[in-house]
């Protein structure tokens, strides 16, 4: 009860000057956050690509720091900066906010850990639960993904407590793409392997600094080829896979290699 009284006393003592100061702090914090939100993405855009992944994650960190600084300043203004007053306000706030926004606070805590541990960064391609897409932004409470279907998905950071995070490129610009080819088992596998390598090596999307690998596996219905390679830009992954598929089919067709009759088999068995 004494603590409640002290808190009330603190707020009763707040005059017009303090209110103006608080308003100024809030306004200043908001303005700095807006500048950070606009300026850093622009800096990332005009900077060399290799710096993009380092600059963009700074945005939520800076926002958090600005918010904390603003809150501390406001507390100082309210309490006159005595320890007893700060402790009283902090205790009361923690009590109230802790119950009211338990989930939100958990997400904020997870967000701080996410910023520190880098399970995902803007520009990464991640899969969390059923959502797969490019991380567009990492906010204090949640991250925003854009799926290949151009749908924005907001995922609270506290999902990292309970779900696995699959990160396809982990801060790198490139990620591995796989094009699948299902062929009739009667063919010269060595020639097909070399031809599929050439298909990847001549793709304009290919990152030539990374390896091209062709793996194959015999299945009951035929031979399954996987052509694995990296595009220069992870944002081109679907165009890259399409390019490999289109040109792979063309090359294999010219070699007279028939696709596996898997569709027919599936229809017959169904």
């Amino acid at each position: 009860m004494n603590a409640d009284k002290s808190v009330l006393q603190i707020f009763k003592d707040v005059g017009m000057i303090e209110l103006m100061q608080i308003l100024a702090v809030v306004l200043m914090a908001w303005m700095i956050i807006q500048v950070v939100k606009r300026f850093l993405p622009w800096v990332a855009q005009v900077s060399p690509s290799r710096f993009r992944f380092h600059i963009l994650p700074l945005i939520p960190i800076l926002r958090l720091l600005i918010l904390i600084a603003a809150v501390v300043l406001i507390v100082f203004i309210l309490t006159g900066a005595t320890f007893q007053k700060i402790a009283a306000v902090a205790g009361a706030l923690a009590f109230a906010v802790g119950f009211a926004f338990k989930g939100y606070i958990t997400s904020l805590a997870a967000g701080v850990i996410a910023i520190y541990e880098h399970p995902y960064r803007p520009g990464d391609w991640v899969k969390i639960n059923d959502a797969y897409g490019e991380v567009k932004s990492v906010e204090t409470r949640a991250l925003h993904l854009v799926t290949p279907d151009d749908t924005m998905v907001t995922i609270p950071h506290n999902k990292i407590w309970e779900s696995s995070v699959y990160n396809a490129n982990d801060g790198q610009r490139e990620l591995m793409c796989v094009a699948h080819f299902y062929l009739h088992p009667e063919h010269d596998a060595k020639s097909v392997r070399h031809k599929l390598e050439d298909v990847a090596l001549t793709s304009p999307y290919l990152q030539l600094e990374r390896p091209v690998v062709v793996v194959l596996k015999e299945e009951p219905w035929g031979t399954h080829y996987q052509l694995k390679a990296y595009p220069v830009d992870s944002r081109d992954q679907f165009q890259f896979i399409s390019d490999l598929t289109v040109r792979g089919k063309d090359a294999l067709g010219k070699m007279g290699i028939a696709p596996a009759a898997v569709v027919l088999a599936a229809v017959n068995s169904g």
């Binding site: 610009r173 031809k195 050439d198 001549t202 304009p204 999307y205 600094e209 063309d250």
Partner: protein, 437 residues
């Protein structure tokens, strides 16, 4: 073209030198340039973004020459101030380097590669050398033949087993297409197995690509390459070019402070003084305060001769206005009696060179990368290599040509020397495979 043996000239031999690839040294940028590019470059962009001002206007607050008085140099004067280089001068240097390689090399040295930096302008040197040495020139297959195995083009290599030969453009023996690598694989296998000597020219971007795709570098001796022009040699070269026609004397000065960009020509040294005084004046003129323009130029052009020459010509300004073709002739006559000309250049930081458009996408990247890989391409073949329609490609090519980044000659699109540094920097930013030069 002369059939005589190349006669060594002391100056040209010192100016041009072919070195092993691992001894190639790219000219360094002035120390301040890196800082300027990093911080001031960012500031320029910010200023441009906020105000629409390019940020350069204020850099020359009190110019030595009023900018309004400066014009493009009249064509006649330009061709005297920076005439087209005569690349045959390089043949001597190439001959020396190849002789040394063939005499002292390892058993694998019968095949020698000469890497040509893109837009270096030196493609014809190997051809000139082969004509002088009377070595057989193997012409590349046309693109359609590449897709059908290239048997006709490979035939001379199979038949003449003892004759030395030259392949001037290896980049024209393949296409970046899944059916476009067969011929070059056969060619490399033939080269590795044959005894006679051969010299193969390849552009630097193709060398980088073929090294990744065919591991070319592991089969053959380290290639030769023309050493990059550093500031000192670029200055000597440009000064020599300006005096080559002998018709006029040019003094190159910077617009902001009037300082010399190139040392004074030796012909301006007073002839009535004694020999030691003349020598002293010559040394003084060389060591006279010259600006850092050629240092910046050598670095920006990556020491590539034709790129540096194209940018040099682009930057020259005159107080004489440019005229139409007819008027230009009249001006040329009028100027005939006037032997000494001052040509002006803006300071490097205020120089505006062709740049990539603000908005780019994959069509720009792939088009430029393929033009650099293959040296030159017809639009028909570009459309065959890339997943874009001919109409889209044509729009892009015309856009890039309007920005002076690429050019069309005899139906072939290629990267313009003037735009090469911008394009290379752009592809580097985008993370694409680059040459090493």
């Amino acid at each position: 073209m002369s059939d005589a043996q190349p006669q060594p000239d002391r100056n040209t031999v010192e100016l041009w030198k072919y070195v092993s690839l691992d001894q190639y040294v790219r000219p360094k940028s002035p120390a301040g340039e890196a800082v300027r590019k990093g911080f001031l470059g960012l500031w320029d962009k910010l200023q441009k973004g906020l105000t629409g001002n390019d940020g350069n206007d204020g850099s020359v607050d009190h110019p030595y020459v009023d900018q309004a008085l400066l014009h493009s140099v009249p064509q006649q004067l330009l061709d005297d101030a920076a005439p087209e280089p005569n690349w045959n001068d390089l043949t001597v240097a190439l001959d020396e380097a190849l002789e040394e390689r063939f005499l002292n090399g390892s058993p694998a040295s019968h095949v020698q590669f000469v890497v040509l930096p893109s837009c270096s302008g030196t493609d014809g040197v190997l051809l000139h050398w082969s004509l002088i040495k009377k070595w057989q020139i193997i012409t590349p297959p046309d693109p359609a033949e590449i897709f059908h195995g290239g048997q006709e083009s490979l035939a001379p290599l199979r038949i003449s087993s003892s004759e030395n030969f030259v392949i001037p453009h290896l980049e024209r023996w393949y296409m970046r297409h899944h059916d476009g690598l067969t011929v070059i694989r056969k060619l490399i296998a033939l080269l590795a197995a044959r005894a006679p000597r051969c010299v193969i020219g390849v552009n630097s971007w193709s060398w980088a690509y073929l090294n990744k795709v065919l591991n070319l570098g592991t089969y053959f001796q380290t290639p030769l390459i023309l050493q990059a022009l550093d500031q000192q040699r670029l200055t000597t070269w440009l000064k020599g070019l300006a005096g080559r026609t002998g018709r006029k004397i040019f003094v190159f000065r910077q617009t902001d402070n009037g300082n010399l960009v190139l040392p004074l020509p030796s012909s301006l040294i007073q002839p009535d003084t004694n020999e030691s005084a003349q020598q002293q004046m010559l040394e003084d003129s060389v060591s006279a305060k010259t600006t850092k323009f050629t240092w910046h130029l050598a670095s920006y052009a990556r020491g590539i001769p034709l790129v540096a020459w194209a940018i040099w010509r682009y930057c020259l300004r005159s107080t004489q206005p440019a005229f139409t073709a007819d008027e230009d002739d009249k001006l040329a006559k009028a100027l005939r009696s006037d032997d000494e000309h001052t040509v002006w250049l803006k300071p490097w930081s205020a120089t505006e060179l062709p740049a990539m458009p603000g908005k780019t996408n994959n069509i720009h990247i792939f088009t430029l990368h393929n033009l650099l890989l293959h040296g030159q391409l017809e639009i028909e073949w570009l459309a065959h290599l890339l997943p874009f329609s001919t109409a889209d490609l044509l729009t892009t090519l015309k856009q890039l040509a309007s920005l002076q980044l690429i050019e069309l000659e005899k139906g072939m699109w290629r990267v313009a020397p003037l735009g090469y540094p911008s394009i290379r920097n752009f592809l580097q930013r985008e993370g694409y495979l680059l040459d090493s030069f």
